[in-house]
Amino acid sequence: MVTNLATAAPALVSPGLDLELSFTQALQGLGLSPQVAHLIWLPLPMALVLVAAIVGVLVTVWLERKISAAAQQRIGPEYAGPLGVLQPMADGLKLLVKEDVIPARADGLLFTLGPVLVLVPVILSWLIVPFGQNLLISNVGVGIFLWISLSSIQPIGLLMSGYASNNKYSLLGGLRAAAQSISYEIPLALSVLAVVMMSNSLSTVDIVDQQNGAGVLSWNVWRQPVGFLIFWICALAECERLPFDLPEAEEELVAGYQTEYAGMKFALFYLGSYINLVLSALLVSVLYLGGWGFPIPVEWLAGWLGQSVDAPVVQVITASVGIVMTVLKAYLLVFLAILLRWTTPRVRIDQLLDLGWKFLLPLSLANLLITAALKLVFPSAFGG
């Protein structure tokens, strides 16, 4: 899949830092053919992003525990490393060495396949997250649409693990998770569509480029405030975060579809949900908060300092600032999600479906239509 997509990197207007080009050129300088050089390059960004996703999860878990503790006037993890930063590692290690239990009457094959099907689409979705003009695995043309379609695979994994556990709580949790996931996918896709309409492209890089004309003022959040809120609510529902954590509502369903899982398979679910949270936060920052863009455009700053944008030093600084800004925005949103977790009570299933189908869906449709109308009336402000 990646072999086909990654080659389709279109010529971009603004140059930016192109690591791939310099890497393959260096390898070709050593006497390798361009194809072999490309083949050697391919796994590198994938491995890097996999590591980044895992590290992001570790950081998020630590933040979650620390911020939760602070919100409740506790201390939180304290002894594993300074300020407990190694606590997520200890958790992961514990899950890794735990016994892998498959219940006697469960369906062993589906039971094993379920967590994998939950995790793989989430990790695959990192393909399209840009950290800079050329700092992403592949600038796929269908970009954000790929993420939406990949995230629609997840419910199958949830249903599979819920069914295979041979446990009523698991089955109910899996069904709830799938129902919630497909209900909130629609307003999510519609609010993404409004953004796509303004940038005339599904590619995440184009979406960010379109927002970076005038720094913070040109971010999509000002042009799409309703879409931003809808997207954030739906993203929380897709990640099964509070107040939408019905699939694993412990008072009703023990732990939902995870009830029978232990050890590394449970860890896969855990990992999947946190990677999904970080990914959603990253995509909110890409779609609405200007992605890698600094609040003041770097080109202006370079101009004021009398530096050329193409100078190597400026390019390296731009790329670093881009990565920092993307991660910073994403983690601000993660912080907000954790704060929301301790603020809002869990909704009931009827309230959840009411909110999804009777409130968010009409609202996102209206948002889409208004965006279309505004685009026709003010083509300069809303993407011609």
Binding site: T3, V36, F145, S152, P155, I156, L175, A178
Partner: protein, 200 residues
Amino acid sequence: MTIANSTELICFVVLAAVVVLGSLGVVLLSNIVYSAFLLGGVFMAVAGLYLLLNASFVAAAQVLVYVGAVNVLILFAIMLVNKREDLKPVEGLQLRRLLSGGVCAGLLILLVRVVVSTPWAVPGPAAIGEGATERIGEHLFTDYLLPFELASVLLLMAMIGAIVLARRDVLEADVGTGDAVDQGLIEKPSTPLLVDQSTR
């Protein structure tokens, strides 16, 4: 043969094998849940074939619609059906199997004939790639507008049918069996459940 070509060939063989074996599994497995999950796998493999043809938008749409919506709904229907009934042996099963096998074989022969007799242009037209999204949109809103709208009407009909089947309370008799529907616990606007006793 370059690396890219051989990778493509390997991918094609694997995907084709998954499609064929998976479809056979969907039909032949006795466990209906396995069939449904395998169907999802077949849809994914078909999406992979689209991807090999450089039609990424169609592939993504295939995953979104068939795997994410159709297959999940099939699984939902299987897992929510609460009816426990003993299956009666069907009369003349052997004959029925032979007949349906004959029909399927006839269809296969017809398709093979078409494939063999059609003069395929090799290589086919160049893939549009990234521009496909716009082209599909243009076609959907110009020359394929009528089929597009008809499909949506069909979906609307399916939705109304689902509502009628699911909400038995609006009907006097069961749609399937014709028995009178027990409406004892369904609140109607004319006769509320909490009748005020003092006015009687």
